[in-house]
Every structure is written in structure tokens, then in C-alpha cells.
């Protein structure tokens, strides 16, 4: 986004409020940027709360850096300030994958989900799990996907952790895109399997069902 001389600087605008953080759209050195700010929690004493928010801010930035090395597109980090538990990152100008899936044709739905499969496959092969893997945590800028929200991300090669990523994603697809859930999840698995291999893909599907059987990650009423 370019700005003509004399135009006023953009006021920070709250675009999303989660349980842990607030997301603002604002200007950073003349360009629109996203500020993710972890908010203080009154149920924790300040010494503890500050330390946790500092630690998680660094952790999230670190995870974003690590997945980028594996070929996973994430918004570019522009500034990190653990003291104010703030990350400023590139503004991805596009909807979440969840929103986009509603309005694009079937072949495009399949294509997007297959790309997401490739991306998550790369992460898992590289030993990183997302921890909160839903289609609300994927942004699409003209078809190019970006993964966001690595607050619960971690280094893990455990089948259990990867299985939870798949299950949460499957659930998210099922609950919001019921009519074509099977199509998009199969497309996702095709992309995923193309990276991790047939054998591992099957194993992970099996793991996902096993975790699902425990009945823990049920859908919201």
C-alpha cells in the first residue's frame, strides 16, 4: 500500500481479540503491519504474568523463524519487543482460509487445501508441530497461504502431537465446511502425503482417528 505525501498516518485498529492476545493493524515505517500484543492477565501475579508473556513472545517469534527455514510461508517478522510482549509482522492482505473456502470454486478449494497439506507436511517432516492447527490460522493472499499463530507451536516428532494437528484441522473443516468437508480434507491429505510419504500419511490418519476415538476434542455445540 503506497501513501501520497500529506496523507495521515494510519491509526492502530483492533482487528482481532483472542483469549491471549490482541491483533492490531497499524503502520510500521510507512507500511501497514500487524501488531500482536499479549495482554496481561489479572489472575496471574505481575511477576509471573510478565515473565510468561515475555517468554511466549520470544518463543512464537522463534517458531516462526524455524518454520520459515523449512519452507513454510509465514508473515515476515519486523520487530520483536519481549518487554511489551509485542511482535510486529508483515500484513498479509487476505482472508483466512476458513473465510475464503466459502466463496471460491471447488477446484480452487481443493488446490488451497492441497497446498496447506504440503505446508503442514514440511513442518511435521522438519519436526515442528503447530499446536492450534485450524483453518482460521491460515491466511490466503491471492491464493498464497501463510501460517500464523505459533503461540502453541513446538519442536516435536511425536506421532501424538502431529495427530492432534491433523485432528484439529479436520474438526475445523468439518464444523465450518460441512457440505464439502470430505473433499477438502482429502485434498489436504493428498498434499500432506506428497511430502511425508504414503506410509507415514496412512500412519498419521490412523493416529488421528485413534485420538478422535478418545472423544476429547469434541465439536462445539
Amino acid at each position: 500500500m503506497s501513501r501520497s505525501p500529506g496523507e495521515t498516518i494510519m491509526e492502530p485498529k483492533l482487528v482481532y481479540k483472542g483469549a491471549e492476545a490482541e491483533i492490531y493493524l497499524e503502520e510500521w515505517f510507512g507500511k501497514p503491519a500487524i501488531r500482536k500484543q499479549r495482554i496481561p492477565k489479572a489472575y496471574r501475579i505481575p511477576e509471573l504474568d510478565d515473565a510468561i508473556r515475555r517468554m511466549r513472545t520470544s518463543h512464537e517469534a522463534n517458531m516462526m523463524h524455524e518454520v520459515r527455514k523449512l519452507g513454510v510461508p509465514v508473515p515476515t517478522i519486523q520487530h520483536i519487543d519481549p518487554e511489551s510482549s509485542t511482535i510486529i509482522m508483515e500484513y498479509v492482505n487476505g482472508p483466512t482460509l476458513k473465510e475464503e473456502l466459502y466463496r471460491i470454486p471447488m477446484h480452487a478449494k481443493r488446490e488451497r487445501c492441497s497446498s496447506l497439506g504440503v505446508i503442514l507436511g514440511r513442518m511435521h517432516e522438519g519436526g515442528i508441530v503447530h499446536g492450534d492447527m485450524t483453518i482460521s490460522n491460515v491466511l490466503s493472499e491471492q491464493g498464497k497461504l501463510f501460517m500464523i499463530d505459533f503461540g502453541l507451536g513446538n519442536f516435536s516428532k511425536e506421532a501424538e502431537d502431529k495427530g492432534v494437528d491433523l485432528l484439529l484441522l479436520n474438526r475445523a473443516m468439518k464444523s465450518t465446511h460441512y457440505a464439502f468437508h470430505t473433499v477438502v480434507f482429502n485434498a489436504f491429505m493428498k498434499g500432506y502425503t506428497s511430502v511425508v510419504g504414503q506410509k507415514q500419511g496412512k500412519k498419521m490418519l490412523h493416529k488421528m482417528h485413534e485420538i478422535e476415538q478418545r472423544g476429547r476434542y469434541f465439536e462445539r455445540a
Binding site: 483469549a19 511477576e47 510468561i52 499446536g131 472423544g215
Partner: protein
């Protein structure tokens, strides 16, 4: 002409250190609630066989006391409920034996009850919640659950030891008597310094074993007991509060119910009250005298189960030391409360 028929159910609790007997009515009145608690020497935990011996000694007396306080004859009972698990095998077997004998002698139905479901039901009864997110904290459980599709579903839980374990195992090392929660909470009042300790939340789950090790290490390194207790309580309760917040945001429930033995902890209560406020949910705590293990939680859950047709036979009524609460079918609830 109208007849009012009142059903009476006797419940027996013997999953761990408490042997409890209670009589309730189908209207939710608790007519009697008597118990006797096995206590181990400071610095030691429950010895399952000794606890079972204790239970055998007090059982007969407590059953007749529960009936006489309720002012009803045994022949009036509609059923006898017993906690078949989860818990310590030798302890469970005492309660199960007594219940089987009563059922056989009185020719009344035997009702199997899961102890954890008992904590949930006595909590909703005494606090008045209808469709809450459950925070169950006791020696045996640290779990966040919500009702869906005929079962209580576990949303988050401890990956290793429970909150009650954390306090009891810490107390055992420093020769405090157990259950140690109240003692530890008293000590926190005299703290002057917060000591950083490991804070481990993984999604909706918590992990307390590292916190226990670190707390004991701090103590050995010369930190004041009061400060270690305060910091351990602060960290452990904040961890659970965060896991509850995540579950609350996800499920969108409008009620939170704190139940189980550790529910009496004031620090935990105030943190969960704040979390509930942040998410516009009403906050409930189980009535104080029913937070610890008791017969009423079994009698009342037994009554609900009995009315929904849940009964068992004497040869089927085996104890289930590892019975998980999400495995229990709950025909007396639907997805929007009872």
C-alpha cells in the same frame, strides 16, 4: 387423591482415605452424610491396605449412623449406590462388599457410580449450576470437562500428577500431615517473595511434576518454606486458570463449576472467578462440606442414575480402579443441562 412418593438412596464412598455413607431423596435433599477419614502419619502417604482395614472397621457403624440420622429404616431404601472407581483397589473393595451385601439382604437394586461423576453431580446440585464447564480438582483428578453427546468430555487435564498430588507429595517431603492443601495455603500468607518456578501449560493441559521437583529443590537450596509454598501455589493455580480460560473460550460455556477436594483452595477460587468474569461466565463452587470425598456425592449420583435406569447386578459389580469419567454413559443429562 394424590400420593407423594419419595425415593431414598443410600450411597457408599470408599475410593481413597474416606469411608462415607449418606442417604438422599430424589428431590435432592441430603438427609445424612457421615464419614470417617483414615489418616496416615505425617511424612507418609495412604497405605492402601491400612486404609482398607480402617474402612472395614468403621463401615458397619457408619451405615447404621447414616440411616438413623436420616430417620429412615433400611427397608425404605429404593436402592444402594456405590463408588466402584476410580480409586485404590483394596479401599474400593470394602465399599463394594458392603453395598453388595445390603443390596442382596434388602433385595434392592445396586447402582454403580463413578466417583468423579459424583464430584460433578454433587457440585451442580449444591452450587446450582445447570450446564457448566467443570473444573475437577482432587487427589485423583485435575481435569476440565464439559458435557456433550451423552458423556462428560475431558477438555484438558494434567499430563502427570494432579494438583492434589502436587500439594500432598510436597507436604510429605517436609513432614506436613496430608491432605496438605489447607496447611500450605496457611503458609502462603507469610510469604514475602515470589520465586520463579516452571509454568507448564500445553494447550488445555497442565503438567505439575516439574513444578514439584523444582519446588523441593528450592526448599533444599535454602529458600523459605513460606515463599516456596506461595510460589508453588501461585504457579500451579495460574496454570490451571489459563487452561480453563482456553477451554472456556473454546466451548463458549456460560458457567464454570469448581468441584473436588482442592476446590476449597481460596487462591484457586479467586483466579477462576477472574477467568469466568473475563468470559462472562457465572462462577460456582461446590458447597464447602461436599468438596472432599463424601457419601452424598455417591448417593445423589446413584439416585440420578437409578431414575434413568442404571442398575447393576451383584456378580457384575466389580471394582474399576482406573474407570475414566468420559467412559461413563450419562442418560440423565442432555446437551443443555439436566
Amino acid at each position: 387423591m394424590q400420593f407423594t412418593i419419595v425415593l431414598y438412596c443410600l450411597g457408599i464412598e470408599s475410593t481413597a482415605h474416606t469411608f462415607g455413607v449418606s442417604v438422599v431423596t430424589d428431590r435432592g435433599e441430603i438427609l445424612s452424610d457421615v464419614r470417617d477419614v483414615y489418616t496416615s502419619a505425617p511424612g507418609t502417604g495412604i497405605h492402601p491396605r491400612e486404609a482398607a482395614e480402617h474402612h472395614s472397621e468403621v463401615a458397619a457403624h457408619l451405615v447404621s449412623q447414616a440411616l438413623s440420622q436420616a430417620k429412615i429404616r433400611a427397608s425404605k431404601l429404593a436402592g444402594v449406590a456405590v463408588a466402584l472407581g476410580p480409586g485404590l483397589g483394596p479401599c474400593l473393595r470394602v465399599g463394594a462388599t458392603v453395598a453388595r451385601a445390603l443390596s442382596s439382604y434388602l433385595q434392592i437394586p445396586l447402582i454403580p457410580v463413578n466417583h468423579a461423576i459424583g464430584h460433578i453431580e454433587i457440585g451442580t446440585l449444591t452450587a446450582g449450576a445447570t450446564d457448566p464447564l467443570i473444573v475437577l480438582v482432587s487427589g485423583g483428578h485435575t481435569a476440565i470437562a464439559a458435557f456433550s453427546g451423552g458423556h462428560w468430555r475431558i477438555f484438558g487435564e494434567t499430563e502427570d500428577i494432579t494438583l492434589g498430588n502436587l500439594y500432598d507429595m510436597f507436604a510429605r517431603e517436609i513432614n506436613l500431615p496430608s491432605p496438605a492443601g489447607p496447611e500450605i495455603e496457611k503458609l502462603t500468607q507469610k510469604s514475602t517473595e515470589f520465586i520463579p518456578l516452571p509454568y507448564v501449560v500445553k494447550g488445555n493441559d497442565v503438567s505439575y511434576s516439574g513444578l514439584l521437583t523444582a519446588s523441593l529443590a528450592m526448599l533444599r537450596s535454602g529458600k523459605r518454606l513460606e515463599d516456596v509454598c506461595y510460589s508453588m501455589q501461585e504457579v500451579s493455580c495460574s496454570m490451571l486458570a489459563e487452561a480453563v480460560e482456553r477451554s472456556l473460550a473454546y466451548t463458549g460455556k456460560k458457567e464454570v463449576l469448581l468441584t473436588g477436594g482442592v476446590a476449597a483452595n481460596k487462591a484457586l477460587q479467586s483466579k477462576l472467578r477472574e477467568v469466568s468474569r473475563l468470559h462472562d461466565a457465572a462462577f460456582y463452587v461446590v458447597e464447602g462440606r461436599y468438596s472432599g470425598d463424601n457419601g452424598a456425592q455417591i448417593a445423589w449420583t446413584g439416585m440420578l442414575a437409578f431414575r434413568a435406569g442404571v442398575v447393576t447386578t451383584i456378580d457384575q459389580a466389580r471394582v474399576r480402579p482406573k474407570w475414566r469419567l468420559e467412559d461413563v454413559e450419562i442418560p440423565w443429562r442432555n446437551d443443555h443441562g439436566t
